[in-house]
Amino acid sequence: MELAAFRSALDGWLDEHADELTPADPVELSGPAVLDAHMAQLAKVKNLAYGAGFMRWGWPERVGGLGGSSILRAYLGEALTGRGLVEPGVYCMTEVLAPTMIDYAPAGLAGAMVPRLLRGDETWCQGFSEPGTGSNLAALQCRAALTDGTWRVNGQKVWTSFAQYADRCILLTRTGAPDSAHRGITALFIDMDTPGITVRPLETMNGIPEFSEVFFDDVAVPAERTLGEVDQGWAIAMGLLPYERSTALWHRGAFLRQRLRELLTDVSDGQLAAEAVGTAFAQLYAFRARSRQTQYRMAAGETLAAETSIDKVLLATAEQSVFDLAAEGLPEQVLLDDDDVGQAWRTEYLYSRAATIYGGTGEIQRNVIARRLLDLGPDR
C-alpha cells in the first residue's frame, strides 16, 4: 500500500464514518471522567480502524499487521489526532510500546499480544520511572529475582501513564547488583491483574489522573515474559525512547497545528502580538520539517537514536509556545470558562507545562545532544 492510496482511502473512510467515530459530547465531564471518556474513545476508534484495516497497515504481518511502511502509521495518527478523534497522549502509547514488543518479545508472545493492543482490546503501560529515578533512569531499583522459572518483582514505579486502565506493562527491573546501573536491568512483560500489584493514580494540576504510582509486592512473572536478554534491558529502554520521539511526536505536532488553528479562529482582534504568533508557527513548522525527515528515515529502516532528542526538544518548545499563546489569546476560556471548550484549553495548557519534563527533561535532552551529537566527552 502506497501512502497516496492509503491517504485517500483513509480520508474517505474517516469522512464516511464521521458520525460513528466522533467522540460523544463531553459536556459535564471533568477530572477522571474526562480520561475515562478519552480511553473509551481510543478503544472505539482503534477497534473500528483495525476492522477497516487502517490500524494494521505499517505493522508486520507476524503481529497481525498488513505490512507496508511505517509512514502509513504516521499518517494514520496525524489524521486521527488532527481531526480530534483521539487524544494524542493516549494514542501515542501504541506507537511507543508495540515496536518494543516486536523488536524484543519472543515471537509467539508478540504475535499473541500486539494485535490486542492494535485492536483496542487492551491498554498497555510503561513502567520506567521510580521515586528515586527520574532523569537518572539507570539508577532504578525495582527488583526482580528469578527462582525456578519465575521472576519475583518487588518495588515501586511512578509516573506510569494510564496504569489504572492497563492490562499489561513493559517493566524495567533491577536484576543485577544494586549498583550495576545500566548493566543489570531486565525488561519484563507483566499482566497488570497479577496478585501483588497496586495502582494509585496521582492527582495532577491539570485534573487529569494520567500518571500513577504502581507498587509491586512479590509479584510472580513467568520467565517466558522476559523481553530481550536478562541484564540487557537498558538496550530496550534506549531502543524504545526513539520510538517515543518519532511517530508519536509527529501525531502530537498535528494536534498542535489543529489547536493553533482553533486559537486563531477564536481570538479577538488585537489580543495577540504578531511576533509571538509568528514565533510559535515557525517553531511548529521547524518541528514538523525535522520530524518529517525522521519519519522517512524510520520508514527506510534506519535505526533511530540520540538525534531524536532534537525532535523532542523542538516539539516541547513548540507545544509550550502554542499554549502560551492560547493563555494570552483566550484568557476567558483558559482561565475561567467551565464548559467543555474552556476545560479542554485549560487542561491542555497545564499539561503543556510538563512537555519539557516528561519523557526526558529538556536538560537531559541537551545532555544527550552534548554527549552524543556534539561528542563533548563526559560531563563530570
Binding site: 504578531a274 504568533v277 515557525a282 514538523r288 520539517a289 556534539l374 560531563d379
Partner: protein, 313 residues
Amino acid sequence: MDTHDRKLFAQSLRQASEQHTGAALDAALDDLGWSDALAGDARDAVCLLFELQGAGNVTSSALQSVLAQALGVGPGVGVVLPPLGKWHSPGVLAGEQLLVQGLAMGALTGGLAVVWESKEPMVAVVPADDLNLRSLSGIDPALGLVHVTANLPLHAFSPAPANWPAAIATGRVALAYELIGACRSMLSLAREHALQRVQFGRPISGFQAVRHRLADSLLAIEAAQACADAAWDEPGTMGATVAKAVAGTTARTVGKHAQQVLGGMGYTTDHPLHQYVRRVLVLDQLLGAGSVLTREIGAELLRTRDVPEMLPL
C-alpha cells in the same frame, strides 16, 4: 543529479570554496559548471554551494546568479538587491524616470538587473556605467557590498515582466543555507575551544552551562536546516520565508553562544570567529531579517485566522 554525481560535485565545490573567494571563486565555479547545475537542478546547486560559502566565510556572485535566473535575465548579469532589511523591488517609477536605490555584490561587469513595480514587476538590465556605485565597507568589509543609486530615463530600456516574489523566495532559501553554513562553522569553532580550554582543572566542555549553550546552538541549526530543506517541497513562497526567518534567528542565537563560549579568544581578530559574526549580521538583514519575517508570518496568520497546510508526508 544522482547520488554519485552529487557527491563528486560536492567535493569539487568544497575544494573550490576552501581555496578561493570573490572573483577567483566565481572563476572556479565557472570551471565546475555551477551555472549549468543551477539551470538543471537548482536544489542541489543552491544547497551545496551556499552552505559551503557560509561555512568558509567566502564570497561569490552566486546569489546574483540565483536571482538572475529567477528573473530570467540570463547568466553573467548581476541583480540590484533591495536596501538592507527590505525586500521590495529596488526601482521606483517617477514619471518617465526610474529611480534606483539598493545594494549589489559580486561581479558587476555584465550589467545589473533592476526590478521595479509597475502594474506588475518589470526588469531591465542596466550597464554598470549608468549606475552610481559606491563600495561599502561597514561591519563586514570582506563581503564586498556596493551601494547602488540611479536616476535613469525609462525610454532607454526594453523592460520585461519579472517574477520578483519568486526571485526573493529563491534568494531567501540560498541565504538560509549560507547562514546555516556559517552557523555550523561558528559552532565547530566554539566546540573545539571548549574541548581544549582548561579551567578549574578540566576542559570547559565538561561544564553543563557550556554544554547547554552548544546543545542549544545545534538545536537551532538543525531546526533551520530542516526548514531550508523543506522549502523545496512547498508549493508557494511561504516555505522560503520561514526558512530565512528561522535561519536568521538561528544565526543570532548561535553567534551569541559561540562568542560567549570562546570568551576573550573570540573577541580577538587572531581568532576567525569575528568574521562569521560580522557576516551573519549582514546576511540576516539581506532580503528581510529573521525577526521582521517572523512578525510578517504572524501578521499573515492573524489576518487569515488560519494555519496553512504544511509539509504533508
